[in-house]
């Protein structure tokens, strides 16, 4: 094989305060696909994204990006955290948040260039948010805040995007704008993993699906793995033993 997959995860185990929340995850992601990640609450979906992004210590295993350990400095992956993870009463504007995607290019004592601001404005525009650029972020609706986060990721111009529940609790027009964006990214042959909660739309929005519940239940093209049987395993109660053992390990 001469081309490495965008993301390869091998034997990954992650623990919070010694309690394992993801067990022995193995997968390899094909390039240029829209991948939906589903699973019940507490299945470890956000944790998996954070682990890939190197935001959490790994108990075991490794993550490789194009065959090498992730280099965060060169914007290989753009990460979109959950909207609720920040305090939106921070004194800043929508445009200002979006430019944060460009901070990576700043040196010590460095200042933003005109070009950075221009890129940020274009990203806002792609999500239909140009009119809100100067708006204080707490005065944006939930859907608009989500779009600001996505615009911020766009400014990084990455090959891979990890999005944590971008469609949770957004209005219809935001959902539309985000789906439009996902299609665009796919056309540009980017690889996107989206944590998703709405089972009804999985088949419409995504090519591949990752079914997660503390372990990887199934991962593959939607038409092959997204069926009742696998959903039952993912959302069913057969994992009691695993969670029980997790508690024991923590003690």
């Amino acid at each position: 094989m001469n081309e490495h997959p965008p993301i390869e995860v091998h034997d990954l185990t992650v623990a919070y305060r010694k309690k394992p929340v993801l067990w022995d995850i193995d997968f390899s992601i094909p390039k240029g696909k829209l991948i939906g990640m589903i699973g019940p609450n507490g299945a470890g979906k956000s944790t998996l994204l954070k682990a890939i992004m190197g935001l959490l210590p790994l108990v075991s295993g490794f993550v490789k990006v194009y065959g090498k350990p992730l280099n965060k400095k060169n914007n290989q992956i753009a990460y979109v955290p959950q909207r609720e993870s920040v305090d939106w009463d921070f004194p800043t504007s929508a445009l200002d948040v979006v430019t944060m995607g460009r901070y990576n290019n700043l040196s010590l004592f460095g200042r933003l260039k005109k070009e950075d601001i221009e890129i940020a404005r274009q990203s806002l525009d792609r999500l239909g948010m140009s009119d809100y650029a100067e708006r204080q972020i707490s005065q944006l609706s939930g859907g608009q805040q989500q779009r600001v986060f996505l615009a911020r990721a766009l400014t990084q111009n990455s090959e891979i995007y990890l999005m944590d529940e971008p469609l949770a609790g957004v209005d219809a027009s935001t959902e539309l704008a985000i789906i439009e964006l996902l299609k665009e990214l796919k056309e540009q042959n980017k690889t996107v993993i989206v944590v998703h909660h709405d089972l009804h739309t999985v088949a419409d929005y995504f090519d591949w699906v990752m079914m997660l519940n503390l372990r990887m239940v199934k991962f593959g093209p939607v038409d092959e793995v997204f069926n009742n049987e696998n959903l039952k395993i993912t959302y069913g109660g057969k994992l009691n033993l695993l969670s029980e053992m997790a508690e024991k390990v923590a003690q």
């Binding site: 935001l55 955290p81 921070f90 800043t92 901070y103 010590l108």
Partner: protein, 441 residues
């Protein structure tokens, strides 16, 4: 000497001591405002208080070890135990089930208690040089010397350079630490940097404000600045300004009345600035919220007047009647003051015609009344159709919505409901103004 003479003497800076005190308080106020802005936004206000109290044992220990009052060494000791305090808080919350607030309280009191014990022991031991250590409790700006000032200036410069160098990283770390980490910025390092900025600022303030009040001078100017602006850079500059003003005022007041200490006065002046900001700042301030509230109330009264007059005329199907004041009052239990003011406003807007204390809707008034009634009834239709609410549940909700629904929402409602002709109570929905406006366009 009288007040004016004293004031001139203070601001002419002829006394070396005035210069030192003033310079010290200004440096402290300014840098506290700047660093405090980050502390405030990172929600570390209480941590700053814990750190400040934790410096006390360090001062005592440094004195015990070197045996004399060397300012730099004392600050170093203070910084070390202040640091240790912050580390203890971190350790407690990550390794035990004790929550943050309890951990802060525990570390603060234990370190402070320890500090008091050490200081008391030093004072009782009678080693001649010890006097003045207790001044670190509430600060004693008057004792500041030239060499102390050099140390303060150097530390302030160091902090300023650090903030300028790492401004963007600190900003993204403060707003969204996970994203900062995803950009490859070490959150461990930025955390360390933030704590270091905090500890060093506390150390700068010990001599002037003291351990007990230090947190106030960090947090209050920042909290005041936050009220006035929606941009981090402006917030920092404002906080620096407020801190500086507090510093100048504190030094000035304690110069006028030498028995009054500088540090506590700085805190009091800063509190006044905060109090004023919370009340008067545009947007966030209480006054501006009150103004918006009153404006909305006025608008609602006016819309109610138009509504009742429109309804009355509609039911009689006569649009050219003048109604007397008292009759209108009873249509909607208006108070007479309310109604009089409302009518004055409406006639200014050209929506009401007045004739010897009798009132009539103008053409524009009829249109506006029609619009409000329509919004009310459309909302009722929407609630019954889409939320399956029974008819008798929808009126109160619509009472509120009629004042809020924007033209865009109205358009959406009309599309969704297919322009209904009757509300759930089978009253006609008026489209008077709507049709006219659409004909024109």
């Amino acid at each position: 000497m009288d007040f004016w003479e004293q004031t001139v003497r203070f601001f002419s800076l002829v006394d070396a001591n005035v210069r030192y005190v003033l310079a010290g308080s200004v440096l402290l106020g300014g840098i506290s405002g700047g660093i405090g802005s980050f502390t405030y936004l990172q929600r570390r206000s209480l941590l700053s208080d814990t750190v400040a109290h934790s410096t006390l044992p360090g001062i005592g220990l440094a004195f015990l070890i070197i045996g004399r009052k060397d300012q730099l060494m004392l600050l170093l000791g203070a910084g070390l135990t202040g640091w240790l305090g912050a580390l203890c808080v971190n350790y407690i919350i990550s390794r035990t089930k004790i929550k943050l607030d309890a951990a802060l309280g525990i570390v603060l009191s234990v370190f402070f208690g320890l500090g008091i014990v050490i200081l008391t022991a030093i004072q009782k031991s009678g080693s001649g040089n010890q006097s003045g250590l207790d001044k670190f409790l509430f600060g004693q700006a008057a004792l500041i010397s030239k060499s102390d000032l050099y140390i303060l200036a150097l530390l302030t410069l160091l902090l300023t350079v650090l903030v300028v160098a790492y401004y963007y990283k600190l900003k993204v770390f403060t707003f969204d630490p996970e994203f900062a980490s995803s950009l490859g910025f070490s959150t461990g390092w930025l955390n360390l940097l933030s704590s270091t900025l905090l500890v060093v600022t506390v150390a700068i303030g010990l001599q002037i404000v003291g351990v007990v009040l230090m947190a106030a001078i960090l947090i209050i100017p920042a909290a005041a600045a936050r009220q006035w602006t929606q941009r981090l850079s402006r917030m920092i500059m404002l906080a620096v300004f407020f801190g500086t003003i507090s510093g100048i005022s504190g030094a000035y007041i304690s110069f006028l009345a030498p028995h009054l200490p500088t540090g506590p006065w700085m805190v009091i002046v800063a509190s006044f600035i905060l109090f004023f900001s919370v009340i008067a700042a545009p947007g966030r301030g209480a006054l501006s919220r009150l103004r918006v509230h009153l404006r909305n109330r006025k608008k609602m009264t006016r819309e109610h007047i138009l509504k009742v007059l429109f309804k009355e005329s509609m039911s009689r199907n006569k649009w050219d009647i003048y109604y007397p004041f008292d009759q209108i009052m009873q249509m909607w239990s208006f108070t007479s003051k309310e109604l009089r003011r409302g009518m004055r406003g409406l006639s200014k807007q050209g929506l009401i015609e007045v004739n010897e204390a009798m009132y009539k809707l103008t053409r524009d008034g009829i249109k506006e009344g029609s619009r409000i009634i329509r919004l009310h009834r459309l909302w009722e239709v929407y609630l019954t159709r889409y939320l399956d609410l029974p008819q008798d549940h929808v009126h109160r909700d619509a009472e509120e919505m009629e004042h809020i629904i924007t033209p865009e929402v109205e358009k959406e409602l009309l599309l969704l409901l297919d322009k209904p002709l009757f509300d759930p109570h089978l009253q006609e929905i008026p489209y008077l103004d709507y049709e006219e406006a659409n004909d024109e366009s």
